[in-house]
């Protein structure tokens, strides 16, 4: 989230699309309700009428996988009716940038497409620049090559008629949503978006979110209270685990994993540090080497020295251009190329797309380590449905771990608040906190390498700093302080001397010479000489809900990101009722939230330009919000493509049906069916309030299981009649990849869609179940979903696929 949960109350219009906040983030709805009480309008777009819909002023149905068509229509509505927030768009976004002549778009393809590799040459989409390399701009937005004019041309095709024929949303519902949301383009008004996996789990997942981010920029909703782009993240610490980058492509703090061509630390830093010749651009990532070197100092402590490039060469590198994502990982495992596997606090046998492939892949392993609280479908895959344990060679180690209240440490919520948790009891039996298991396991590995003179490349293992314990127990405070970072020697900075061992006050003090460590620069300032900031518990007495002294929030306790865009060029808040920051000209400083940098506003009080200012979008080298996004794999503007499996054989927006850059795989289990009469219905997956993720933590609990005891498939009355199904019947749901048996729930919450003149049905299933427990509770809905994904992130397309439904 760029903003945070309580800030939702400051909104004038809330769009819930691609999520179901009322049921899946129930307490977030407290703040939605508060906004509605204060006069906000609530809009909900969803294939199914949910409890979020029930509370909305406007509910608009949509066929799964057509969000870009819907949002493209909104962009056209905003532009056709002059509803964009003109000063914001002209000053703070790249709408005024001139795009190279080599950029073009024709019949669903952007320029630079190579059909042999299914990739684009993105250099075709850059900006026209002056001789210093600074983008040329037309702040009047009239130049035919400026982003604003290209945007208009791109979305001219997204008229109500065509959008409605693709999404299945009635035209009057489209108009109602567009009008209500676009009204937030007025000065002082804010609109917000609450989205989740309903937007991300598509072959166009990234572009779904980009489309909304563009709308937020057009309406001036970024940086302001009650605005922003807000992902409702689904796991208690998925924000923190992403920040610390348990991911193939990034190191802690969103630093890049090195590629094979980065053979030295200097080459690595050079490749990842953007430059700018524009004196008004802060270009924050220009600090990259300070963060990478400080991270290496945390990895290897005293072993990291300038002479050995701080241990850079000890860490693994990726082949350039190759991806190692979830879908790749299980594809490689399916092909038998792994010996060992850790499934640590995760149940991939149920959570990954195309579960049959995932489960079969595991039988090719020699050993697996499964760390969890309960028995689950991953650790016990060798005795799953249709599996003969006598034929499965995999050794499995199951290690029981503590639950959250049995250990101490922090987690980071969706609003980036890092909150400290205390230990309330010991784990049962001999179960251990994950941190303790990690410490003990790695110490044993280190011992093995220490004892073996012929061990292969032992340096990274022996030199890894691994002293985060007190009296033999994992000490989360020691780790939290290392994450913040320390001075490695006496250093004088900005006129003050910091002693060796002192905690670094904030990332502005980090250095690229080895004089500081910080295991994650984004969390530098979270645990300082003033104490553990995440443990703070002082509530805000008045204000807009920032609660700056409750816990801590990255970066540097900034509660609303991009907040320098919440003010006009002279530093006065666009919305005087909900000021995030404002410029105190007399004192020469910002007041309010921690600003996105302390530079003065763009203009002096008399309106003259201030040469000491910086553009507000400091993380981009051009300093402007990107309406045109030349960095994405599938194009600088979102374009509607159908899901890889879809019910239509044409796309009225272009001749291109599916995303031409979407990755898919080629094993015998990677099969897809579009417009196949055997799989005529659109399928999607979702969650219920009473269960969580694959259900490992909730299916074993009596109250929750009683409330939601088994897998169901929800369908319209019309579809039930068509198939002769009664409410409560046991039915079989099948895709070309697999099937599940479920109880039919026949409701008026799904309705048939009218798509390109045809009646199209959609069904939905929760994905919380698995064969281990409860007995006859049903298996994972991911047995149905396809292992294809988004070209930018490789997230699987688990929200739109094709199925059949019939009585069991």
């Amino acid at each position: 989230m760029t903003n945070h949960w309580i800030d939702i109350r400051n909104s004038d219009c809330i769009l819930i699309m691609g999520s179901n906040a009322a049921e899946n983030h129930p307490i977030s709805f407290k703040w939605v309700t508060e906004a509605v009480k204060r006069g906000a309008s609530l809009l909900n777009v969803d294939p199914r009428f949910t409890r979020s819909s029930a509370k909305s002023h406007v509910y608009a149905p949509i066929r799964s996988g057509t969000d870009i068509a819907f949002l493209g229509g909104m962009i056209k509505h905003i532009l056709d009716n002059d509803l964009w927030f003109e000063p914001y768009v002209a000053e703070y976004t790249n709408a005024c940038f001139l795009v190279k002549e080599s950029y073009g778009f024709e019949d669903g393809l952007f320029s630079g497409y190579d059909p042999k590799t299914n990739r684009y040459d993105k250099s075709r989409w850059g900006f026209q620049t002056d001789d210093r390399g600074v983008p040329l701009k037309d702040r009047t937005l009239k130049d035919p090559r400026c982003v604003f004019q290209l945007l208009k041309a791109h979305y001219a095709r997204y008229d109500l008629e065509t959008v409605s024929s693709v999404t299945g949303t009635p035209k009057e519902d489209l108009e109602a949503v567009y009008e209500a949301y676009a009204a937030t383009g007025k000065k002082g008004k804010a609109g917000t978006i609450m989205y989740a996996m309903g937007w991300t789990q598509h072959t166009v997942g990234v572009q779904n979110i980009r489309a909304m981010a563009m709308i937020q920029l057009l309406l001036g909703n970024m940086g302001v209270a009650g605005g922003g782009v807000n992902a409702l993240r689904g796991e208690s610490n998925v924000q923190g685990s992403t920040d610390h980058c348990i991911l193939f492509h990034i190191w802690p703090g969103y630093l890049k994993t090195p590629g094979a061509s980065h053979d030295t630390l200097a080459a690595y830093n050079e490749a990842n540090t953007p430059g700018t010749s524009d004196p008004l651009s802060a270009n924050w990532w220009g600090n990259y080497p300070k963060y990478s070197v400080s991270l290496l100092k945390s990895f290897f402590g005293g072993h990291a020295t300038p002479a050995n490039e701080f241990g850079y060469g000890w860490l693994p590198r990726l082949d350039d251009g190759k991806t190692y994502s979830w879908l790749d990982l299980f594809d490689v495992m399916y092909k038998g190329e792994f010996t060992g596997f850790f499934a640590w606090g995760q149940n991939p046998a149920c959570s990954g797309a195309n579960a049959t492939k995932t489960r079969e892949a595991m039988a090719n392993l020699d050993w697996m380590v499964n760390v969890n609280i309960f028995e689950n479908e991953t650790g016990s895959f060798w005795k799953g449905p249709g599996v003969d344990p006598g034929k499965v060679k995999t050794e499995v180690f199951f290690l029981p771990c503590a639950v959250s209240v049995e250990k101490e440490g922090s987690i980071t919520n969706s609003g980036r608040w890092m909150q400290w948790r205390y230990k309330a009891a010991n784990p049962p039996g001999s179960a251990k906190p994950d941190g303790q298991i990690l410490m003990e396991l790695m110490k044993r590995v280190k011992d093995l390498y220490r004892r073996d003179a012929s061990a292969v490349f032992p340096e990274p293992i022996l030199n890894l700093k691994w002293d985060y314990e007190t009296d033999g127990e994992f000490d989360p405070h020691k780790m939290a302080r290392e994450i913040n970072g320390r001075f490695q020697r006496d250093v004088t900075l900005k006129g003050k001397t910091y002693r060796k061992g002192e905690l670094v006050p904030s990332f502005a003090f980090l250095q690229d010479d080895g004089s500081t460590s910080s295991a994650n620069w984004l969390y530098c300032n979270s645990y300082t000489e003033s104490g553990n900031m995440a443990a703070r518990r002082k509530r805000e007495a008045s204000g807009i809900g920032l609660n700056p002294e409750w816990s801590w929030c990255w970066p540097v306790n900034r509660r609303i990101l991009y907040n320098r865009a919440s003010v006009d060029p002279r530093g006065n808040p666009w919305d005087r009722e909900h000021p995030v920051i404002s410029w105190d000209a007399a004192a020469g400083k910002w007041v309010g939230d921690v600003p996105d940098g302390g530079w003065p506003p763009m203009q002096n009080p008399d309106g003259s330009p201030n040469p000491n200012t910086r553009y507000p979008f400091i993380m981009k080298p051009e300093g402007h919000g990107r309406i045109f996004g030349p960095g994405r794999a599938d194009g600088p503007f979102p374009e509607h493509y159908e899901p890889l499996e879809c019910p239509v054989d044409r796309n009225p927006f272009s001749g291109q049906i599916a995303n031409p850059t979407a990755p898919s795989y080629a094993t015998r289990l990677d099969v897809f069916k579009t417009c196949d009469p055997r799989y005529p219905f659109v399928g999607t997956t979702y969650r219920v309030s009473e269960h969580w993720q694959t259900g490992v933590m909730t299916r074993w609990q009596p109250w929750l299981l009683e409330a939601q005891p088994q897998l169901f498939v929800e369908m319209s009355r019309e579809l039930a009649e068509l198939r002769g199904i009664e409410n409560g019947d046991r039915v079989r749901v099948e895709s070309v990849r697999g099937g599940v048996t479920a109880v039919a729930v026949v409701t008026g919450r799904f309705k048939p869609f009218r798509i390109l003149g045809q009646e199209i049905h959609q069904v939905g299933l929760p994905w919380h179940y698995g064969w281990v427990h409860p007995e006859n509770g049903g298996d994972s809905a991911n047995l149905l979903t396809p292992s294809a994904g988004d070209p930018n992130t490789r997230i699987p397309e688990t929200k739109a696929f094709m199925v059949n439904v019939q009585k069991a």
Partner: protein
């Protein structure tokens, strides 16, 4: 007057409660007499954050001060600014996650082609895993790729998880896997 729930309990629990309670402008006597019957009266309070979705609701866990130090209750933290004491169905059931007879409390091992789990000691399990890590890493370690570029990676092991861990554990887990040379490192955030 601002008063947190914790202060409120202190006030109502004090022997000179009458005057302080009057200061709140409310008659707290019925509430106080009810509170005295609650099983959490003598429990230790620990604040925590719910372990399910990422709203980050505050909870209070009540632990027995005597006996086995068992958690006897978990409820919403009324002082927490996000949830102000409220919880959803999952959060309200948190004590059943902790006190659950189905939890596994001893390491388990399933041998090759085996048909069941057997209980093993931590020492045995961690030693066995460490040996397998080393054996697999040393066999599958790749110093250079096909182009002859230095890559220093372990191709034979993959890792997934976990967004369920604390931040401090997340950092440790990625550091361990990267030091071992793994490149196939993924978790919930990808899917």
């Amino acid at each position: 007057m601002e008063i947190s729930r914790r202060d409120f309990l202190k006030v109502t629990g004090a022997s000179a409660a009458g005057a302080a309670v009057l200061g709140l402008g409310l008659d707290m006597k019925p509430l106080r007499s009810h509170a005295q019957t609650l099983k959490i009266r003598h429990a230790k309070e620990s604040t925590s954050i719910c372990c399910y979705c990422a709203v980050g609701c505050g909870v209070i866990a009540h632990t027995e001060k005597t006996g086995g130090g068992r958690i006897i209750n978990i409820e919403g933290d009324p002082d927490h600014p996000i949830n102000e004491g409220t919880l959803c169905s999952k959060g309200a059931a948190l004590s059943q996650l902790v006190n659950n007879e189905n939890r596994i409390t001893t390491p388990l091992y399933r041998e090759r082609f085996g048909t069941e789990w057997r209980e093993v000691s931590w020492d045995w399990a961690l030693d066995a895993i460490a040996e397998r890590i080393k054996g697999c890493r040393d066999r599958s370690f790749t110093r250079k790729n096909d182009k002859g570029q230095v890559v220093n990676r372990t191709n034979g092991i993959a890792h997934v998880g976990s967004a369920a861990l604390d931040n401090e554990e997340c950092w440790l887990i990625q550091a361990m896997m990267r030091a071992l040379g793994l490149v196939y490192i993924e978790h919930q955030a990808r899917i």
